[in-house]
Symmetry: D2
Subunit: 97 residues, 4 copies
């Protein structure tokens, strides 16, 4: 059950929403680079890193929810649910480390 592409591609609107969040995260990572260059106080740097972690987790959860609503649901309706669920659980276990 090898997939390279999403079973149901995202609408332009959906893409816009996820890309906007990822662009912000990209900007925050650059922000931390600046803080390191400016020898900013470590606690403030850690607070920024923690903020990026939460933002990334939220993107991960929204991708997970979409995957369950499309690819996993599709597989379940075709009787291939167990394999698709096992594939997702493998990643969630990695995520939840």
């Amino acid at each position: 059950m090898e997939h390279k592409y999403a079973v149901t591609p995202r609408s332009e609107e959906e893409k816009e929403k996820v890309l906007k969040r990822l662009k912000r995260i990209e900007g925050q990572v650059r922000g931390i680079q600046k803080m390191i260059e400016d020898d900013r106080y470590c606690i403030d740097i850690l607070i920024q890193i923690s903020a990026i972690e939460s933002a990334l987790k939220q993107v991960g959860f929204s991708v997970t929810e979409r995957h369950m609503n499309h690819c996993v649901s599709d597989a379940i309706r075709k009787g291939e649910g167990e394999e698709s669920i096992a594939e997702l659980m493998k990643v969630l276990r990695q995520f939840g480390k």
Copy 2:
């Protein structure tokens, strides 16, 4: 005990090391944007998000260790340890959520 800057600034070599990791993370975030644009399979996107999370956590731990070896140790030697430790624990609790 308000700090804007690190008690002991990083050496150029130290900065180089952290910046290199952050640049790589920045590139990985852009990589995920591309995967979203290309409608790549959600599981592969989640694996990439998880990889960035781990990389970010490692940067966070190295900043934490440096902070303890410099700012917190400095405060302890000056008899202000408890306050500095409480400040760090507040962030670690946020991190560990």
Copy 3:
């Protein structure tokens, strides 16, 4: 869509497996109580707490996987997938904090 009980009850064998892990976790928690009473070194206590956390996470993942293979799959086949997935994601977001 209010549930009090699992859509498909666990077999005795399944129950045995999960209960065994939970009994072990219960014993580990008592073990930490003993370490506190005996003024054991904090690092050793933290290592034990971390071991329990991992064991608990594994139980959580196995309950999640079972839930997806039974209750969520059942809801998807009845056309109620989105609601069931949203319910699970709400808990995973709590878990992933």
Copy 4:
């Protein structure tokens, strides 16, 4: 720098506080065993597991804070700070997985 016992033993009052939290966690673990026996809905079981995880994390953070205020501070004052911090960081990395 091998330690079997805390550098500064906890007061009876401190012990009481931590043991009370651990006893509650022990009870919550038994509560989940009961839910499994009663075939309770998986989502409710996951919510309980997540509650125990948070409670355990809080115990871990309080043990960490105490360790930093006693054993790590003690080591720093004796000029053995780096080793003690490295020891703690090794556990925090495990914790933060």
